[in-house]
């Protein structure tokens, strides 16, 4: 009956899980980091349903569902209950489960089933049935969210404690059908990176020039990406490192980012999803305080303020603390933004207070400086969009900042980061990762329906080009674009004493609908991943929004 299929399963893949010994098997979030091992029926006498006692069922983990083997029977029973209740509710309709209910973290199957059961009050004649015990949490959506999160946080924290930085990572690639010349171009780029890594600068120099020639024969995204990468390689070879992120400082990064904001949905998605989480955290609060780690032009806040203004029962008092770097021309950029937001607040009837803080690095911040009021008085949200990865430049900086955040006692911390591993130690690997990543980004710009030549498009490309240059040409304190993946950030946040706050199907849906407004929106996709939302181009996730709260034990 049991067949020995050691051979046939050698090449077979199990996405989640790891090669950890029995009893300690764990699942990782998808996209997976680390090698997977498939559980073979009969192999090592292992239980066919999973990795033993406290471990996750590896087979289901590979398919995206985290269920402990020891919970399997219980989950099965709950599914049966749910089916029965759904079946008998057919007359009244279960449509509200589809339309109104907010779903969270589908990978946690046990919690999902439990939340569905709680949503559907069993009809009176079923109460006598021994299987249908009354649900422990209330059936309303809002309350359910918080207790739901609590139980899930526990699961998440446990898996994160064991979660390590793995040397193996996922390399998602989406190619647009390439012609022969495109293949040669990529080949030459890779060869050049190799030569640079081996410090064969003569060869690297020759290749970089060749890339320039090949790039000209290409069209669209491929040509632009290749050109930026070639330039970055040249800078690295000739050691012409731009200092402090400005290739051409006459064009401020803030301005470039504004054009990027207009051309494609990434920043809008980031702001939108972060604001969703903040709004939910601010429900019922009468005084709220947002600490924005990178105020820039303050583009995230009008929408939040308007949503607060529309709150049934009236808006809370809204305080915004904006942090930003010193300006080269010594102007008070922060105050200007604060002033504009104050004017908006005035027109929409929101009590508003603003404070700006200039800092070279977030690590220079001391929470005491921010005059944060106690939780009984104000509800705090800390927001960071594409800022935290810069702290990975200096050892200890990120830990200091995470400690500072904890000291601010926020109700919620919202974080948006690039979904990429651009901080590995090996240059060629970093180069390859970046090539894949920015190719997808440029591709999406190409499909954005913005007709070339357009200033918006060119500026957006420059914005990305600067990042490419930084990733490829710079090292040490100059290299600030140290992007890391969601999985890596999740591990870091978990270790630092934060629990996840899950973004749900309502945020997902609205984010998806937002994308449809962009021309060429068809290529953009929102994906749910362990309670976080990611925006990608086709099947390649490019940015990730996650939300956090202080761990229960803090």
């Amino acid at each position: 009956m049991k067949r020995d299929h050691g051979d046939t399963c050698n090449g077979a893949y199990g996405g989640g899980g790891s090669g950890a010994p029995k009893g300690e098997s764990l699942s990782s979030s998808i996209p997976a980091s680390g090698k997977a091992k498939m559980v073979m029926w009969g192999e090592d006498g292992q239980d066919p349903c999973g990795g033993g006692g406290g471990g996750m069922d590896e087979l289901l983990a590979a398919l995206g569902y985290k269920v402990r083997s020891s919970d399997m029977a219980d989950v099965a029973q709950k599914l049966e209950q749910l089916e029965m209740v759904m079946g008998t509710a057919q007359e009244d309709g279960i449509s509200h489960l589809s339309y109104d209910t907010v779903h969270y973290n589908p990978s946690d199957l046990s919690s999902w089933v439990q939340s569905m059961l709680s949503e559907l009050n069993p009809p009176p004649q079923q109460l006598a049935h021994p299987v249908l015990a009354p649900a422990e949490s209330s059936s309303t959506v809002t309350q359910h969210h918080h207790s739901h999160t609590g139980s899930q946080s526990q699961t998440q924290t446990q898996s994160q404690v064991i979660f390590n930085d793995d040397s193996e990572s996922t390399r998602p690639v989406v190619l647009v059908d390439m012609q022969e010349a495109g293949v040669r171009l990529v080949h030459t780029l890779m060869a050049c990176a190799e030569a640079v890594q081996q410090e064969n600068l003569k060869l690297a120099d020759a290749l970089v020039k060749h890339i320039g020639l090949l790039a000209v024969s290409q069209n669209g995204a491929m040509r632009k990406v290749a050109t930026y990468f070639a330039e970055a390689l040249a800078r690295r070879i000739y050691r012409i490192y731009p200092h402090d992120g400005g290739l051409d400082s006459s064009c401020s990064n803030d301005i470039l980012q504004m054009h990027f904001y207009e051309t494609c949905p990434y920043l809008k998605f980031a702001h939108f999803t972060a604001n969703q989480a903040i709004l939910e955290a601010f429900a019922n609060a009468s005084r709220v305080h947002v600490i924005d780690f990178g105020l820039k032009q303050g583009m995230q806040w009008p929408a939040l303020m308007q949503a607060l203004a529309l709150r049934p029962g009236g808006p809370p008092a809204f305080r915004l603390t904006g942090i930003g770097p010193p300006q080269p021309d010594n102007t008070d950029a922060l105050q200007r933004v604060g002033w504009k937001l104050a004017q908006l607040a005035d027109t929409i009837g929101v009590e508003f207070e603003f404070r700006g803080f200039v800092a070279n690095s977030l690590a220079d911040l001391e929470p005491a400086m921010l005059d944060i009021r106690p939780p009984e008085v104000e509800t705090v949200a800390v927001n960071s969009v594409f800022e935290l990865h810069r702290l990975l430049t200096r050892s200890g900086a990120i830990d200091k900042v995470l400690s500072s955040i904890k000291a601010m006692r926020p109700k919620i911390v919202t974080m948006v980061e690039q979904e990429a591993d651009h901080n590995g130690p090996v240059f060629v690997d970093r180069f390859t990762e970046a090539l894949h990543y920015y190719s997808s980004l440029f591709d999406s710009l190409e499909g954005s329906g913005v007709t070339s030549p357009s200033q918006d498009l060119v500026m957006s490309e420059m914005y990305l080009g600067r990042q490419i240059c930084n990733v490829v040409a710079c090292e040490g304190p100059d290299r600030v674009e140290r992007h890391e993946t969601l999985a890596q950030w999740q591990a870091r946040m978990g270790s630092a004493g934060f629990d996840p706050v899950h973004l749900g199907s309502n945020a997902f849906k609205q984010a998806s609908m937002l994308l449809a407004l962009f021309a060429g929106g068809e290529g953009y996709r929102v994906e749910e991943n362990n309670g976080c939302l990611m925006l990608g181009w086709h099947t390649r996730p490019l940015i990730a929004t996650s939300a956090w709260q202080l761990a229960a034990t803090q």
Partner: protein, 344 residues
């Protein structure tokens, strides 16, 4: 009502491993939420709930994958799975489409299931299945992300399948060294199996050579209610009500289930006699309520003088191939491996 439901639930629990029961029941209940009585589909919730995985150009267990937009105009995407190269642990971007090195490599063009409405190429269940196919069959797998119902009705999925077939057959890097030809097999489960048939038919008419068809629990039906449908309705995860919904969502408006896309050997079907149709492997699960239609399909091929091998798995339910913890999985994988390799 509640009583008979209880009996049904325990029956299905007895024939599959517990974790498989949990997996398929989970899909069943979630899918119930997504189908609306008015024929519309909650696509946003569907995408939220679906567990997806990205492609991975780093080999895992000896297999790597990458996605290709094969048609920019329609955004048609395929995920390609290849065995890792022995010389390089990590294929570089330019090596992803490196020419095949073996004398003979079967290229399996795969259409995922989901009753035409659910799942995608990057759904975890199908990414995992495709990887298993690569490992077991020593094949290259091209998984097609065809457009789904109800937003895109018949023949959109078939058109996408056809585009993918043309693309695959024209890739020189997929040619086997022995004869510089691309050896294509079409494979699919559920709705994917249905797509296999239509694409193969089109290929035969256009004289593109397809070496074989693999239909795993293929989705066919007809207006008539068959014995198996009456007997097994609602007993093993699937009921007639949901089957009917999916056909109404996929078939052109106003059509019924005798439409040839649904019922290829029915009253409106086209004769396959004399057509150079590929050999077929048809896998039927004995606890699948639509088995009578699947058996009729195999019979229909036979009667038209086509080569067909029927694999009937008595105690198998739908979805048995999603997890490797049952006998049926291995039986089928072995059969598929023999089917696509020259001596099979």
């Amino acid at each position: 009502m509640a009583g008979s439901n209880e009996v049904n639930l325990s029956e299905s629990k007895m024939v599959v491993p517990l974790n498989m029961w949990v997996l398929i029941s989970n899909f069943k209940l979630k899918y119930n939420l997504l189908r609306r009585p008015d024929g519309t589909f909650n696509r946003h919730l569907a995408e939220f709930l679906d567990r997806k995985v990205p492609a991975n150009a780093n080999p895992v267990d000896g297999i790597f994958s990458f996605d290709v937009i094969i048609d920019r105009a329609t955004n048609l995407l395929c995920r390609i799975y290849r065995p890792a190269f022995t010389e390089e642990p990590q294929p570089s971007l330019s090596d992803l489409e490196k020419p095949v090195d073996a004398e003979f490599v079967p290229v399996i063009v795969f259409f995922h299931g989901g009753s035409f409405a659910h799942s995608s190429t990057n759904s975890a269940i199908y990414d995992t299945l495709c990887r298993r196919l690569v490992g077991i069959c020593k094949a290259i797998v091209v998984s097609v992300n065809y457009r789904r119902a109800p937003e895109n009705r018949c023949p959109c999925a078939y058109d996408d399948g056809w585009s993918a077939l043309k693309w695959v057959s024209s890739r020189s890097w997929l040619q086997s060294k022995i004869d510089s030809k691309v050896h294509i097999f079409l494979a699919g489960d559920s709705s994917g199996g249905n797509i296999v048939h239509s694409v193969a038919l089109r290929a035969a008419e256009a004289e593109i050579e397809v070496s074989g068809n693999i239909l795993l629990n293929p989705m066919f039906s007809g207006e008539e209610r068959t014995e198996s449908e009456k007997k097994l309705d609602g007993k093993y995860f699937v009921g007639l009500r949901d089957r009917d919904w999916y056909w109404r969502a996929f078939l052109p408006e106003g059509e019924n289930r005798d439409h040839p896309a649904c019922n290829p050997f029915g009253p409106r079907g086209k004769s396959l006699e004399g057509i150079k149709f590929p050999k077929s492997l048809v896998v039927v699960a004995g606890l699948d309520l639509i088995q009578d239609w699947q058996l009729a399909y195999a019979k229909g091929l036979e009667k038209a003088g086509q080569k067909v091998k029927l694999l009937f798995l008595e105690q198998a339910t739908i979805g048995f191939y999603l997890l490797p913890n049952n006998d049926h999985f291995y039986t089928v994988m072995d059969e598929i491996s023999s089917f696509v390799n020259p001596d099979g």
